[in-house]
Subunit: 363 residues, 2 copies
């Protein structure tokens, strides 16, 4: 870590690979011999087209997906997807079926409900979202337009460790906080999306990876900017796209490839997560994890301390030694360490050591 | 101009002030002693809050607006505003009334029409959008929810030189391509918006400046992300905002203030535009302006050459001497020089000289 930078455990916007930041900084005034900043170049320019196509190709290659999937970049955050998905795909006859595994999963459902086209397939709200609903708990209406999951729950620190069997109902997933963090059989999903500001780039675009068959035609009554076919037919260039965000996502995808792809990411992320869960499990109850063990996230590690006073002290002391952004979300309280792809092992090791010394000083 | 940068006449994304780019580059790895890049910092952090509040305050100060107006940052481009505006404000009884002065003005109307809530107040389509409809040409329905203008027409190179009298109907304006380029009595407008990628920053956010009374309450049936009250009540932080774009808009607004504000911008922009219009008008018909003289834009100067071959040659030769992005939009053809706030006088002078020498070589 460079002397003046901290280890940033924020949940998103979040840490980005330092190599990627330096590369972007180096070419900030003159992108690829264009004589312009990437911020200034036309989205219709050849140089930008190369950026867009390479980003799309790298994402699909990392995910092992073929020609039947398309990659789109859409503004508005995952929150706008919560609206666009039911508007494009659900009807009163064929509703969207939602698995409520946390805050964003529930927000997605709420939007479908506003539109009158949502139903619930399962919920772990009654156990404070400590676990991911199991296959047995899912009540999937075979007439549903789709089953919607939030694959990693940033706030609660839980993550799916299986891909639900939906018996032919298309599977949709918000992967905002674990996109490209590990290999999955992505071909089991019909529609995946991610606000990129957690694992893939700066805030300002959503990455959508979906079956072309879903994107080709949208309901005629929808306004232009809320139709997926607008983005699909115009290659995400119907209007000016969030060019800098796409450029950064492309750089991060290339960085993941250069590191060895999703299996290397998964291995690193598992090692990092193990360090923190071990620090929790070996703390003799000083640290209490929020998530049930079988639902623990590789991306967001949530835990409480014996008192709110100690939690405040933990945040303050951690900040003094360059460990930032560890305060948890108010709905869970305590701590949350977000350890996305770009968080180096050294940062997590330092946090684990800090946890141990803090515990010894306060037990 | 730095040796390896060109003069960038692109219509948007477009040239940004070099001082601003250098400042952003300098602090790219560590924003304001946070130990994080501005791309990595939480949108809930104190440092980001300062960025947001300063950007909002500077924009309002530059526009001379008071407490009855609010500044919002919304993703999706002006194109999503074309949808949100009628969804939030128009009904079948009180339609949105649109002045069709060019391509984007017409696209805005088309969206209202899809929603069944649009009507036309005036159009200059029959004269190929060469002029801005005059006050006398406007047929404003007193029952209209709003009158919608596109204040500068990037593609056709026309701009309003008066503020329409609407007899109490709220005035809405898309100012994507001339926002903060000159002083206006902005208090005559109820709702102003601008995709920032022309005059104010990198692509990825829309700046909305509107009367609070319009933003306080949106129709209950609308999904969350399509309601202005969502953005208003949460200070544009309902979900993760396009933080980097907001940061850059803030820097550009501060730069405009440091230059002397909108009157200085207007003076500079008028001088730059005069150079090019003079080159057209004194060309003995070699260059033909698209816009009628009384509707000429200070921001986008559009003109044709005697043949398409010469136009191709003009673009190629201009490129060789570091004058980029001068090719016009296909719907007008010929050339378009976009000379926003950040385009230095020297760049325009160089283009005017080039026009003269090209004309002499080919007349």
């Amino acid at each position: 870590m460079e002397a003046d930078r901290i280890y940033n455990f924020n949940p998103g916007p979040a840490v980005l690979p330092l190599e990627v930041l330096k590369e972007a900084q180096g070419e900030f005034l003159n992108f690829n011999h264009s004589g312009m900043s990437i911020l200034e170049i036309s989205h219709r320019a050849k140089q930008f087209d190369e950026v867009l196509e390479k980003a799309k190709a790298d994402v699909k290659e990392l995910m092992g997906l073929g020609d039947d999937y398309e990659v789109l970049f859409i503004q508005g955050g995952a929150s706008l997807q919560f609206d666009m998905i039911p508007m494009n795909f659900a009807t009163k006859e064929h509703k969207g079926s939602y698995v409520l595994s946390g805050s964003f999963a529930s927000k997605a459902y709420k939007e479908a409900e506003i539109l009158g086209v949502g139903e619930v397939a399962a919920s772990s709200k009654d156990v404070d979202f400590r676990h991911i609903p199991t296959q047995d708990e899912l009540k999937i209406n075979p007439e549903a337009a789709y089953v919607h999951l939030c694959y990693n729950n940033t706030i609660y620190g839980t993550e799916y460790h299986y891909i639900p069997e939906t018996n032919g109902v298309p599977l949709f997933a918000d992967m905002s906080s674990d996109m490209l963090s590990r290999p999955l059989d992505f071909s089991k999903f019909s529609f995946i999306y991610a606000g990129v500001q957690k694992n893939l780039g700066p805030a300002g675009t959503v990455l959508v990876v979906a079956k072309k068959s879903l994107l080709e035609k949208s309901p005629e009554t929808l306004p232009t900017m809320l139709r997926y076919d607008t983005f699909y037919k115009k290659n995400s260039l119907y209007n000016t796209p969030p060019a800098f965000c796409i450029y950064m996502v492309g750089k991060v995808a290339a960085w993941i490839k250069a590191q060895g792809g999703l299996s290397v990411m998964a291995e690193r992320n598992a090692k990092k997560a193990a360090l923190l869960y071990e620090a929790i499990d070996s703390s003799e109850g000083f640290y209490k994890g929020h998530a049930d063990k079988d639902s623990r996230s590789f991306m967001n590690v949530t835990f409480r301390l014996p008192s709110e006073e100690l939690e405040k002290e933990f945040v303050a002391e951690a900040g003094k030694v360059g460990l930032g952004g560890v305060k948890g979300h108010r709905s869970v309280g305590g701590m949350r360490a977000s350890i996305y792809n770009a968080m180096p092992y050294e940062g997590v090791a330092k946090l684990a050591e800090f946890m141990e010394s803090f515990r010894k000083a306060h037990k």
